[in-house]
Assembly symmetry: C2
Homo-oligomer: 298 residues x 2
């Protein structure tokens, strides 16, 4: 059965269409690699590319794309609102089908090594790909951003996993790691009281006593005059979407507030839906293997 | 975007492993064609093969497989419990992705023509592929079975769509047509009273006043001491699964009976689940295009 992995590299270029196209073109028309989505933001001056493919093909494509980015993006003149530390800021690898997290970790480490050896871009491993707890969280690695990275690398605890203690002069550094796919899942409430949405967010999220793989904040949807519990489900195999939704509903009852809708942001893996449809419909012996399209991409 | 079509040919061989393998091998290792499932039954002496692929590749593969079946299956000595009229009994074509029903009809008619011309097997068009109402239902065409087919073809109204008024001497005739995918969907009830299950089936099915694209019967699950409403949803885009389930639940209330589970039989298209998950979770602006795997097979 074919292994499928996803990568969502973030490049520090969000406005120059010729440069964007030059990077994207690496992923186009390659056997075993498929460009699924591009999200770019001019204020952030950044683009997020979603690519899937077979592990070896995807690894070669991403190495090639990093080479293009290193060549055409100069961080010394880069301005943008989103924090960033390199021409390629971060490359997460996400196992999608017939792949274990361990295999994704191995692939990420092979890719990291090749990127250093080929393009002389220093690499930090993050998330599942590093055993160092201070490096698991990308925000820790990126703190100081491109401008502060030269100084930061001189500290022994911030020596990159691949590369020496100097940044690439124009491309900075990059973080590479394997992680679970996360689902951005928002639940809308029929109240305009942001404090209620924030209370519910605190009740359902892991950090303050809620569900293990749930991050949540309360936000206002000003135009619609309602509020929202905005969640990241960081492991939907262990904290399925229906559980988060039903817990929000239960907490909302305290305030006489109702759930009036929900949404997923971006692409959602089918497995994240299968658990929930099986729950609501009471499906017996149901799994992703019963879905036609899942068999099609095996 | 790549077009994907499914075919589920039924071959009149369910026991001879060498013959089964000879037919299956046609679908293996062909570019653009994928063998998804085999269901064979010794009592029926019949096998049902699920194959998907790109239209032209699938057409060539099925023509080749019919040739193998015509060569190795002799209906003059065939015995089996399931009604059948030929070495290949029926070849449905089901549009799966980026294909209209009209395109599936055209493909089925091209395939039918080629099968007659290449293998001299007479073909009846059925379901969406024929305008003749008496031929839309496969059971009408098949009535009389292989043994009665020679006589039947002499009636002008039973002249095949492709071929003359004589059957293939050893392979009989075949029905080919395009149809919507159907979902076999069963809902279990906490009663052992078959009359209640039958009453609910009558309430939800189209023929007796229920949902437009729902066929249903009540059956006993003797081992579990419960009953079941066993449904075929013949167009899940118009009669979604959740609607059938919730209507069964509502009707069951009359008898103080509860729904205790449900199941889908075989492979279910993702779209059939997406409608239901969106209903139960109140997902806004949700469609199959938000599902990662659906993007993967575009």
């Amino acid at each position: 059965m074919k292994k499928i992995i996803e990568t969502v590299p973030n490049f520090s270029e969000g406005s120059d269409k010729a440069k964007i196209e030059e990077i994207l073109s690496v992923f186009r028309g390659k056997e075993g690699v498929k460009l699924l989505d591009l999200h770019r933001d001019i204020d952030h001056n950044r683009m997020v590319v979603t690519v899937i493919g077979e592990p070896d093909a995807l690894k070669l494509a991403i190495i090639e794309a990093v080479g293009v980015a290193v060549r055409i993006i100069d961080m010394r003149t880069h301005r943008g609102e989103h924090p960033r530390m390199g021409a390629v800021d971060v490359i997460p690898f996400i196992p999608i089908k017939n792949m274990t997290m361990e295999e994704a970790v191995t692939l990420s480490q092979e890719t990291a090594k090749a990127i250093w050896e080929t393009h002389h871009l220093p690499v930090f491993l993050y998330e599942e790909s590093t055993p160092i707890s201070a490096r698991k969280n990308l925000a820790n690695i990126r703190s100081g951003q491109f401008e502060g990275m030269s100084e930061k690398l001189k500290y022994p605890q911030w020596k990159p996993d691949f590369g020496g203690q100097e940044i690439h002069p124009t491309a900075g550094v990059v973080a590479i790691g394997a992680r679970m796919p996360l689902v951005a899942f928002n639940v809308n409430l029929d109240t305009d009281n942001i404090e209620i949405a924030q209370s519910i967010a605190r009740a359902v999220r892991h950090i303050s006593g809620g569900l293990r793989y749930c991050k949540a904040i309360g936000i206002e949807l000003k135009e619609r005059k309602i509020t929202q519990v905005s969640m990241n489900i960081t492991d939907y195999t262990r904290t399925p979407l229906y559980r988060a939704l039903e817990l929000v509903r239960i907490e909302a009852k305290r305030y006489g507030v109702n759930v009036v809708g929900s949404e997923v942001v971006g692409l959602v893996p089918m497995t994240a839906l299968v658990d929930s449809v099986a729950y609501y419909m009471g499906l017996e012996d149901f799994s992703i293997d019963k879905v036609l399209e899942a068999k099609m991409i095996e």
